[in-house]
Subunit: 159 residues, 2 copies
């Protein structure tokens, strides 16, 4: 109520918290999509989608790894990775082979083409940096903050 006795909606903290513009989750969600859209034309030239690019980044650092291991590094499960990896295999960028030591494990290794693609990919980060219109230092600082948030969120899940 205001002083005239007319019903006025009180803007509580809970009301404020529900505003779209106040939500960090929406900021993160919409920025992820913005990144995806900036990456799209660059990755089209490599014949990769953005999630496939992430898988290739992980494999360029270390391959001959289990699907499980890849999933832990990328925070993805087999439901996402299995079909994605089959598409990368169809594109002859990776090879999937059952481990002889443990027949449950499928090992992912890069093919020669998969290794070679890394050279073409080297140009990508530079383009992204340009699109972000931001210094490397600023981006790395933000990255650290966001990763810290992600890790706290993931920790909350495990409780």
């Amino acid at each position: 109520m205001d002083s005239m006795g007319i019903m006025v909606r009180k803007q509580t903290a809970a009301d404020q918290a529900l505003r779209l513009d106040n939500q960090i989750c929406f900021a993160v969600y919409s920025t992820a999509h913005a990144f995806n859209r900036v990456y799209k034309p660059l990755l089209d030239r490599l014949g990769l989608t953005y999630p496939q690019y992430l898988v290739m980044l992980a494999l360029w650092e270390r391959d001959d790894v289990a699907v499980k291991d890849l999933g832990e590094r990328l925070f993805l499960d087999s439901g996402t990775l299995t079909p994605l990896l089959k598409r990368l295999e169809a594109a002859e960028l990776i090879k999937r082979t059952r481990s002889t030591e443990d027949e449950r494990v499928v090992l992912i290794a890069l093919t020669a083409q998969g290794h070679a693609l890394r050279e073409k990919a080297k140009a990508v980060p530079q383009s992204i940096l340009a699109a972000s219109d931001c210094s490397v230092g600023e981006l790395l600082a933000m990255k650290d903050e966001i990763v810290a948030l992600r890790d706290r969120l993931n920790a909350a899940l495990g409780e």
Copy 2:
């Protein structure tokens, strides 16, 4: 080459930039998924998915709006929104009606149930805040930085 004349791979800036851990895009991507996983059990109680929750947040601020308008606020197109809105209509949270002034336009309005759901949703942000294990001030500061980045990325798209 090192001093012994043995071939040693030089770690160039381009090599560093391809490291998964150095990529802000992966930080944003994986944090968006982490948020989604934290939201899931909370939103299940409301019968909403996370994108549906975002649509409801937007509508609680202003409804009786065109699909186009909703899309601009959420950075989504009709290919995403049309089926999502049909599901919200099936759940009787919203009503879709053709505008009489412009028959191309579909107006989205909340139903009584749609309005009512807002009360149940008020508890959500508090739970997210707790999971993020972060002060409101820190989160708002990060949010502003991320939104600024998103806006620069989107601006780069328009060029």
